[in-house]
Symmetry: C2
Subunit: 480 residues, 2 copies
């Protein structure tokens, strides 16, 4: 039951209820429906189920049962983890440190913290999205640092972060590390060294409505928002016992076979990493090459010169569900902060994340379908090479203005990504190697995308400057 379908390649966005979870939930509807804090028979039966679930989950995660609380979602848990750690460490200071590629919930918490007088410092990442550990620790060493946050693995590109090293070095500084552990928990290890960590049950086929918050003994943590007596003062309202029982059942079932399943999925991911650039031109696979340095079941690649959402729609039409851009900001127009921080193209990204129902044949089918989906999108894009190999009329290459000497000017203002990048890619071969042209663009994503394209293509972004008339002028030198 509840099979997501073998074309569902978006496991990191959540899975349907695991059969074991569905069975556990239905059973718990009988004996776990009552508020477990009640002194009635029904309440006591609920409490028994809740205690058993907590003990099983704690054993699975290698923590004590009283260190584990259940919240309404992973996002709730992560926010409470971050802001609760800040609240508990108020005497140490009001500075939060986090990496540039955390989940948007961490950025939302950091914004809220800033609005309430706190400070938040951001450590950069390398082009594979791995945090600069030296910078992270250096920031945490600064005055007034209360808490630092680092994900176990990046949710968009799968890159594992050095959480054990970070936790160890921060422990010496007396700064607690909060770890967003969700995606790593499915096939990997719980972050044993982290004083505080969180996860969402939907990643392993648990129901919606269950986040895990672990606060290890001895960690300072205070509820950042009003709570009641539920879950040792870490949650609000009666525990959702049927959903918790189901979440824990599917956690155990999923992790029981995690070593073998992780290896199997890692093999499929390698096939995708290898196959996509062969199948489709102008494609770059993101994240580290070393399989040990990333999640086994997730990969993101960038297809140049196309809009990721359009590709997502073409793939959906062909029976494949994937993510594009930031998984959490896909319906806003801001580019993914993760891809910007990595210096990757923010348009044209596809995230594939596999689940146990996906096999080799599905991956081969995906690789067979991808080229036609990409061609369909590239063909649609106004001004795309496929659609119009002739010089563009809508982004005209004009002679330089008399008062400047940076070569011809390409006016891509009013055009949304990926079009400015496409305009540049088409125009650059028309000038001499060693000379320059200037692109004018006003899409906010152009700043990171033009820079990323130049890096990828070995060209040079010489400089950029704001225009009085709106938008930005990007000077690009042709190097090859």
């Amino acid at each position: 039951m509840n099979q997501p379908g073998s074309g569902y390649l978006d496991a990191a966005a959540g899975l349907p209820l695991h059969p074991v979870a569905a069975e556990a939930m239905q059973a718990a509807w009988q004996d776990g429906w009552a508020d477990p804090s009640r002194l009635t028979g029904a309440g006591r039966r609920s409490a028994v189920l809740l205690d058993a679930a907590r003990q099983a989950a704690a054993a699975e995660l290698g923590v004590r049962p009283d260190e584990l609380s259940f919240l309404p979602s992973g996002v709730h848990a992560l926010q409470q983890a971050v802001l609760g750690s800040l609240a508990g460490r108020r005497r140490a200071g009001n500075v939060l440190v986090h990496s540039a590629v955390e989940h948007s919930a961490v950025f939302a918490a950091a914004d809220w913290h800033r609005q309430h007088g706190g400070q938040a410092l951001v450590a950069g990442v390398d082009p594979t999205a791995r945090v600069d550990l030296a910078e992270f620790v250096e920031l945490a060493r600064g005055p007034g640092v209360a808490t630092a946050v680092l994900q176990a693995a990046n949710h968009e590109v799968g890159t594992r972060q050095p959480v054990a090293e970070a936790a160890g070095q921060l422990a010496e500084l007396g700064v607690p590390l909060v770890v967003d552990a969700g995606h790593e928990l499915v096939y990997g290890q719980a972050p044993a060294a982290a004083p505080i960590f969180t996860a969402d049950a939907r990643l392993w086929g648990g129901p919606a409505g269950v986040g895990l918050l672990v606060v290890r003994q001895g960690s300072r943590w205070r509820p950042p928002f009003p709570v009641d007596e539920a879950e040792s003062g870490r949650a609000l309202g009666p525990a959702n016992v049927p959903a918790i029982v189901a979440a824990v059942a599917s956690l155990r079932a999923t992790r029981a076979g995690r070593a073998a399943e992780g290896r199997r999925l890692a093999g499929l991911i390698e096939r995708i990493r290898d196959g996509v650039p062969r199948a489709v031109s102008d494609t770059v696979v993101l994240g580290p090459d070393d399989p040990a340095a990333r999640l086994p079941h997730l990969v993101t690649f960038s297809c140049l010169y196309l809009d990721g959402e359009a590709l997502l729609t073409e793939l959906d039409r062909r029976g494949f569900a994937v993510s594009s851009g930031s998984s959490c900001t896909a319906d806003t127009l801001t580019p993914s902060h993760v891809l910007v921080a990595m210096g990757a193209l923010t348009s044209g990204n596809v995230r594939i994340s596999l689940h146990p129902g996906v096999g080799q044949a599905d991956v081969e089918r995906f690789l067979a379908v991808l080229p036609e989906a990409v061609a369909a999108v590239r063909g649609q894009a106004p001004g795309s090479p496929a659609a119009r190999p002739a010089p563009a009329a809508d982004a005209a290459l004009t002679d330089p203005a008399p008062n400047q000497d940076h070569g011809p000017v390409l006016d891509s203002r009013g055009r949304r990504c990926p079009l400015p990048v496409l305009d540049l890619a088409r125009a650059l071969p028309g000038i001499e190697v060693g000379s320059e042209l200037t692109v004018l663009a006003d899409d906010p994503a152009a700043a990171s995308d033009l820079a990323a394209w130049c890096r990828m293509r070995g060209q040079q972004l010489v400089d950029q400057a704001g225009l009085d008339s709106g938008g930005t002028a990007y000077r690009v030198r042709r190097l090859r």
Copy 2:
């Protein structure tokens, strides 16, 4: 399936999943498991289910779909309602007004508001728990009032509050009213006049994990805590579609028959209100006499000279589940703030709340069992009349000290409620009408319970004063 049992008389603490809800949830596991904000096929199918559920619930409540959000519980919704209204009205001031008998979540929000520099003013209630509307409106008229909160009906004694009048008068003052509507929504009306109202789906057999937050158009409201794009910025994390679909299905199913079912349950409640004082001595039924002034399915009565939790246990042993004291603080040692505000006895209270599976025979069986359960508890209590009709040794009536003339002194220090009341009840007949005795007690509940007993028994609490040695001295005059 999921029958709570006909001895389950604690519907207001939550019901098992309504069969319609279970069926809807199982169906939604197939088509509603995905995050509805996703652009994949699975996401779109989820979004369709969510939209349909929102429209159906909005129609049932008489609001627009875009005015209704789903949160993880009624407590979450209530807290967000109160603090979000305060945040949205920050320019108007930072004063919150609420009644003395609101849900503990409102008190928690008020405490939090105070800790963050705000102010909270509390309007009193009459002995039936009905708010003093004139005082409530007068407080709301004061300078800097941002928001006022009033429940539709009290969760402990069932008293309906004048929300329509309050909303109307406050609208003239420009102060929005937040209404905790949950218990009233099961068999009654949505508070059409309230700009903001909330409820929890567990009250009508919906699953745990669903709270309703209605913010009517034109109401100022701002997220008090960090949120993301979910639920129009009023919630955090992806919507829990299967649970929402189930909650709305059971809301409609329950309310479809609410007029007839409300009348049927009201008849059973009248039988309990009439039968309990006949069946058990020294018992007082709380709340207004007028059936229209209270919820049809809920009643609370006080049994003097016993501990409510002990009675709850005796009833549980005999197959009946009820609540005692404050439903939300039963496992703490603080007396119910609702009962204190009413001036009622805080120990020995039993709340009965009925659900559609309870019939006349169950009520008769309860009335038959209650006297033996009460006798068992009263017999257990050390120093109770049943156990030891002879003068108590553990609460000795001593001669007055030479420097005071308030009659004999009864030292009940170290004895927990209901024992100080019991000591007084036993000792008072031993002194002359018109003369006084002094009770020394240090249980925090003694202050309200001794006063309540005197009112109930037509005796006079002359005065009370703190003792240097700890505890309080209560002077009581025998009037009859």
